[in-house]
Symmetry: C2
Subunit: 164 residues, 2 copies
Amino acid sequence: MNLDSETKAVELPDDHGTELRLWLRLLTCTTLIEGEVRSQLREKFDVTLPRFDLMAQLDKVSDGMTLSDLSKRMMVSNGNVTGLVERLVESGHLDRRTSETDRRVQFIRLTKLGRAEFRKMAAEHEKWIADIFGDLSPKDIRELMRLLAKAKGSAQRSAKARTA
Amino acid sequence: MNLDSETKAVELPDDHGTELRLWLRLLTCTTLIEGEVRSQLREKFDVTLPRFDLMAQLDKVSDGMTLSDLSKRMMVSNGNVTGLVERLVESGHLDRRTSETDRRVQFIRLTKLGRAEFRKMAAEHEKWIADIFGDLSPKDIRELMRLLAKAKGSAQRSAKARTA
DNA sequence: GCCAATTGCTTGAAGTTTAAAGAAATTGCA
DNA sequence: TGCAATTTCTTTAAACTTCAAGCAATTGGC
């Protein structure tokens, strides 16, 4: 038996510190940027981030989307979307229409007003983001994209394995 | 005058699409991992992520921390921390003590129970994170750390410039 | 010492979020 | 057809979050 390796094993019970530090850095980065975007949205357009996100999903399609689609894409719960949509319909940004073939399903769309307002916000939003990442070179951005894609894949693999 | 370049300028009013895609990917990654961690914490320890985060901050120091320190480190509002601490004191995980030199200040500490429970959770938590990033090589991790540090710096520069 | 500004924390209102339970509609299979 | 499983959405309770307003204590000129 090798005493040295035993001692080492006790002092360094696997080393998962680097992954943890990576996670904390990722989280800090995201929180920082999210806070910045949130402030700007409130300040410039008096809109909350969740509402902006929801409208962003809807802006990608022309013919609407169901609540389930929205909750999957936004990675939030179903009930959450119900409330958000309700308030956005109330304020005239969204339009809801019940499916004719399945009466459980609601198709949600941006209204003319909603789309117009979103487009205005999105244009500004894109500039803020560009400025936030302003110090990164095109190569940095490509590398980050690549590595984050890999990280995303890894996380999905891990989550799936756990649930299975 | 060059018509071609004019046309281009209209069709591609600056190109900030790559930064936007980077941001969306960063957000997706974080949301995915955060959801995974949240599920595990609830499932295995019946604790919420915000409580875990707060205890993590306190575990780093032995002699306690003020509410302001906590809110700065966690990057959340003051009022938010007030509520979290209140519930954690209630459940016996935290301990609060008013400063003797400044009666506005409260020092918050983990109780013996709180620290013991946190240590147990943290050990598991580290393993989950290691698994989540399991597909990344040590080199990938180093590169991500480096690029995220750069992104963080850039975001801070941007936020600071706006506020100034 | 006086008092305006600042700092640390709490409170209240509105909104967001999750998890869990439930209602309504559809689907698939025997 | 009949009915159990599934899907879509809503509802509920509890927690979390922010922002703004406010209170209490301290600090820094003067």
